[in-house]
């Protein structure tokens, strides 16, 4: 499924002293099956933007299309949009409200009108994706869980809906490193095998560099760049000037290059290892 955003602007608390333009004439397109990263300083408008993509927020001006449907037109059924576009909120644990983990994860599938058998399958699938043991956790109250465990349950609740477009707002904040790598790995695989469209909002430049095909960079409510990770992370000074950064591996490569070593762009640990080995080994053979 594709997404098209045209000249989208959003003003919070319009006509009050607190009036704030959170989105300023934003336009972009995401093709079906793309894995997109959305980065930007805190307050740059990322959460505001993605809440427009499933109709939770209405633009002050501009349009949002999912495939061909203008999602804010009167003839579009809101419910069908929310079924197609799954959104994991920035603080998803606030949305946990059921008595058990099972019922919480089952909430969405139930609303889709699925039968009990399929609901259970969905819950098992989703808990497995977030690396929680179904039998161990299904009857526990979400309120008895640690911060990271709650977050996993909240992510599972959206995955259980099997949306065609999956939007994740800082999904890994609060997850431990292994959980972060495993859950992002599962999402990447879901993206590859089921060709779903994914939008990942993250402050982790490392995760973004590792996962996405394309990055949108936001600054003060505007889109300032859209490009491949290898191109975006070449601009480390620009990124730093707007509150962002580059992965440590990229920074290392850049500083080694400044010292005269023949090292190109690096986005990952693997890249850096190979490039540094090449340089060191060629020196030895000289």
């Amino acid at each position: 499924m594709s997404i098209k955003v045209e000249n989208l602007s959003y003003i919070y608390m319009k006509d009050t002293v607190f009036e704030h333009k959170a989105l300023d004439d934003v336009s972009f397109e995401i093709k079906d099956g793309e894995f997109l990263g959305l980065i930007g300083h805190t307050g740059s408008g990322k959460s505001t933007l993605i809440q427009h993509l499933n109709g939770l927020m209405k633009p002050t001006s501009g349009k949002v299309f999912i495939d061909e449907d203008d999602i804010n037109s009167k003839t579009t059924v809101k419910k069908t949009i929310r079924e197609r576009v799954g959104l994991v909120f920035q603080y998803p644990e606030h949305q946990l409200f059921e008595e058990t983990v099972f019922r919480d994860v089952a909430y969405g599938p139930k609303n889709l009108g699925l039968d009990d058998n399929e609901i259970e399958n969905r819950v098992r699938f989703a808990l497995d994706m977030v690396k929680l043991d179904y039998n161990e956790i299904k009857d526990i109250s979400p309120f008895d869980l640690s911060g990271g465990q709650k977050r996993r349950v909240a992510i599972a609740g959206v995955l259980a809906m099997k949306p065609k477009i999956l939007i994740l707002d800082e999904p890994t904040a609060g997850l431990d490193p292994r959980g972060r790598d495993e859950i992002l790995g599962e999402i990447k695989e879901l993206h590859e095998t089921h060709k779903i469209t994914v939008i990942l909002v993250s402050h982790s430049m490392e995760d973004i560099a590792k996962l996405v095909d394309k990055i949108i960079v936001m600054n003060k409510g505007k889109i300032v760049f859209i490009d491949k990770p290898s191109v975006i992370f070449r601009e480390s000074l620009m990124l730093e000037s707007i509150g962002l950064g580059v992965p440590q591996a990229t920074k290392l490569a850049r500083e080694l290059k400044e010292k005269g070593l023949d090292i190109g762009e690096c986005l990952s640990i693997e890249d850096a290892k190979l490039q540094i080995l090449k340089v060191l080994r060629s020196k030895k053979n000289d």
Binding site: F143, G179, I276
Partner: protein, 279 residues
């Protein structure tokens, strides 16, 4: 040296809503010196937040003792003293916001401590400047973005001038420069004001700045040492579900290929120096 926090054989058991019991802390002995900067790492559910809540008497142990500046946290009469010595910034800033205007929110703590109003004004301004949110002082905190809220929560604690600040994943929602500001702020408070810091984090590169790193697993402390001691054990950290800074891992990979580098490189700067020496 004097102890800020000292625990002995602390155990804590939760009984869940379904009646099952979970041993969240299973014999913790830790002693944190005054002025020390300590980082606590561990996978989800390992007991970090539970331990942190014992440090300012939000939770009491089922057995064992916790002393905060030699005050037993079980001593109910001393509760306010303890909370004034050890201030806490939680995992989630939303739960900590109490007022409808940012500066009132930051003033809430010192007001409860009955600080006089001129001094409160001064502390609020300083705290907001320290987290770079001064220009938002008249805003509504509920209307700020996630990262901005986190900085307000930290300012609220700074304004109470505690001797020890416990931060439970304070940077989880911040952008890279926001994270750096908070860590710089924490280090400044530690180095210039001598405030004892306990930082719980899932970001390994933040723990690099600590004097001492503790690793938790299943309610127990399983590793402790300087950041260099702990992070140079790359395989062990990974087996505990944790990680090391990217440069430390690159260094580890290069060492496996036979490149002669020290095992305990933690920063890009150190790595650049070592690699330039080799070429």
């Amino acid at each position: 040296m004097t102890n800020m926090i000292k625990t002995e054989s602390v155990k804590h058991e939760y009984t869940s809503h379904t009646g099952k019991s979970i041993m969240a802390l299973n014999g913790i002995d830790i002693s944190i010196e005054k002025g020390e900067f300590v980082a606590i790492l561990g996978h989800n559910g390992s007991g970090k937040s539970t331990l942190a809540k014992h440090f300012n008497a939000l939770l009491l142990p089922n057995s064992g003792t916790i002393m905060v500046k030699n005050i037993d946290t079980k001593n109910e009469e001393m509760l306010w003293e303890i909370r004034q010595i050890a201030g806490m910034v939680f995992q989630n800033p939303d739960n900590q916001i109490v007022a409808t205007i940012v500066e009132e929110d930051v003033a809430f703590g010192p007001e409860n401590l009955a600080v006089e109003s001129k001094e409160i004004r001064k502390r609020v301004d300083e705290a907001l400047k320290a987290v770079d949110m001064y220009e938002y002082r008249k805003h509504g905190p509920h209307l700020l973005s996630g990262g901005q809220k986190q900085r307000i929560a930290i300012a609220g604690i700074i304004a109470m001038k505690p001797e020890c600040i416990i931060l439970d994943e304070p940077t989880a929602m911040l952008d890279p420069s926001g994270r750096k500001e908070v860590i710089d702020t924490i280090m400044k408070l530690n180095q210039e004001e001598g405030i004892t810091i306990v930082l719980i984090t899932h970001y390994m590169d933040e723990a690099v700045n600590a004097d001492r790193v503790y690793v938790m697993e299943d309610g127990m402390l399983v590793m402790d040492g300087t950041p260099k001691d702990v992070f140079s054990q790359v395989e062990k950290m990974k087996s505990l579900g944790l990680d090391v800074p990217q440069v430390t891992e690159i260094c580890h990979e290069l060492r496996k290929e036979g490149i002669k580098l020290p095992a305990d490189i933690l920063t890009v700067e150190e790595m650049v120096v070592e690699l330039c020496r080799l070429k």
